[in-house]
Symmetry: C2
Subunit: 358 residues, 2 copies
């Protein structure tokens, strides 16, 4: 296995869309929402294990999640867990890993990946990532992975391809934010637009150059502590510069502005499982369309997502198209069509309960 | 206060209509379902306290409930709690109290009352019970309390009055079982039919005579241990005869057959609170018609009954006309119009779970 290839798993997210199952102290990447027996972060690690030496994984996460990462991925050492003192979106997260890697192995290449997505076709996934790595290493380009869209989804960012093609990769024409339904339908028909998977591949030197060019303040911050990476001073150095970083995504901060971005369009059964309804599409249902987890007696209930904690009994009658999530300290019931409001419910709880229950 | 008057509180019921709130180990009479701060049995005791000396209360209950009774009514002594080894409906329960009282105080009179009903007009209640006691004591009749019906309820038994009247009491023409809606509507229009409250008043000697006449086997059983009542042998004696008793109600076994039954028709804000919907009629609602108990954030929810355990948070959106009851180990959700099926749900749980959760 190529010892110069690294995998950076971004695991700092604290999303609330799976609340009350996902909580501040255990966010989605540390849950097994699909009931596979493995958490999302564990699945992500194992997905890259055939491609990347185990000592070349880096997990960037919030300091509070350190022990969860160690539990889920006991194969990696403490030095491979990069702790963010506060969340500052994906650009600082990637900068931290890139500048640290630059000091450790300047000739390395990196795959950057979210930690809470689903991939069902492992064989195709490995093929695509290998091609992306070879392309980035040989061509000195930034590579992103685009997913062939199967529906006009308004929850994803899209990547528009240019006609310029090199092997299986296309030059990127534009990155777009989440579209309206009308626009997403046009995207789907055009055949030029692909879902942005959030997976990126590049040579470490190349992405550092892009920070220098497009996010110069961030480049300055992470360059100011170069002598501290991979030393006992690293944590203190990171804690001193992180609060100064802009909260900005890598897409907005670099990918949309960079030249020489290429996309490998792929179809390996990807989903970000970003919502209960997206989870519903990827999990098994009973004959009435219910997706249930836990010990539940159902009567006259259809198209409903139900999760009950272990040891508890659910007796549920007469629901149609609902989400019911019962945890130790929170019961949430919500119409499936209203799930986008769960964020609002969580905000209300945050205000009323002074941070408890979230 | 008249020392010859006794109050017999029947507290052996193990109803399942308030499941999962009511449980085998804590049935409805031991719950404060209305949130008044007092359980039903405590309210029942206090309701009769202005009428009956505290040492003249007898509570008949299942042996398993002894400690619950002692906790709820610490004013009474252990000898005032009559323990049934098994539930055998109201006729054996009343026979036990009556034969024991016959030995203790043959000239006594008794008010027999359920332990899980609601009365809102205490002043009127006391007046009615006093009149009933005086009538039973002077006339040597059986007295029952009828409630002026406010709707064609199909969940109650009805008492039809005869035109023969003595003071404020009427002779009873018939006792009827729970009617169909059509029949209940006719009852309501006729003005001759009153709800059977399950409250009875009679001289101890008179009810014993009725057992002798209409339930001779039961009379024989309870007469066979006369020497044991009010002695250390009482419990063993009762345990030996109880399994031999027929499972039969006092209404069916005696009241429907006896001559000389009179009814005092009354209106003292009575309800048996036998169902969640009956509870709903007697408790406060918010502006959207929701009856909630517990820490709950509600959105777009109407006409819904919700109870959540202390310390837990509910976030509930989009329900209309539901019952949601969340206890430590059971979550039940059911349409209000389907509440009669809760018995069926409980039976299913009993079969599947081998007695757990009920």
């Amino acid at each position: 296995m190529n010892k110069n290839r690294f995998c950076v798993i971004m695991a700092g997210g604290i999303g609330s869309r799976f609340w009350p199952l996902s909580r501040t102290h255990r966010s989605k990447q540390f849950l097994d929402i699909l009931g596979t027996g493995k958490t999302f972060i564990r699945q992500t690690f194992e997905r890259f294990l055939p491609l990347i030496p185990v000592e070349n994984f880096l997990v960037v996460t919030h300091a509070n999640y350190k022990e969860l990462v160690r539990t889920e991925i006991p194969e990696i050492s403490e030095e491979q867990i990069l702790l963010e003192p506060i969340g500052r979106n994906t650009a600082p997260c990637i900068a931290y890993a890139a500048y640290k890697l630059k000091m450790k192995n300047p000739g390395s290449s990196m795959v950057v990946t979210p930690s809470d997505h689903l991939v069902t076709n492992q064989h195709e996934f490995e093929k695509v990532i290998r091609e992306g790595l070879e392309f980035a290493e040989q061509q000195h380009k930034l590579v992103t992975i685009g997913i062939s869209p199967s529906r006009p989804d308004t929850g994803y960012g899209y990547i528009q391809i240019d006609s310029e093609q090199t092997g299986t990769l296309n030059r990127v024409k534009t990155f777009t934010e989440k579209p309206t339904l009308e626009v997403a339908e046009m995207f789907l028909v055009s055949g030029e637009f692909f879902w942005n998977s959030g997976i990126f591949i590049w040579r470490t030197e190349d992405i550092v150059k892009e920070f220098y060019q497009h996010l110069p303040e961030m480049n300055q911050l992470f360059s100011s502590v170069l002598q501290d990476y991979n030393t006992p001073h690293e944590r203190q150095a990171i804690e001193s510069i992180y609060p100064e970083c802009r909260n900005i995504s890598i897409d907005y901060g670099i990918m949309e502005k960079a030249e020489n971005v290429f996309v490998r369009c792929a179809d390996f059964g990807w989903s970000d499982i970003g919502t209960w309804n997206s989870l519903y599409q990827h999990a098994g249902h009973d004959r009435e369309g219910n997706m249930i987890s836990g010990d539940i007696n159902l009567y006259d209930t259809r198209n409903t997502i139900i999760r009950i904690a272990d040891g508890k009994l659910g007796v549920i009658q007469g629901l149609d198209d609902f989400i019911v999530v019962d945890t130790e300290d929170v019961l949430m019931i919500c119409r499936r069509e209203e799930e986008q409001n769960i964020r609002r419910f969580v905000e209300d709880v945050r205000l009323k309960k002074n941070g408890s229950f979230i």
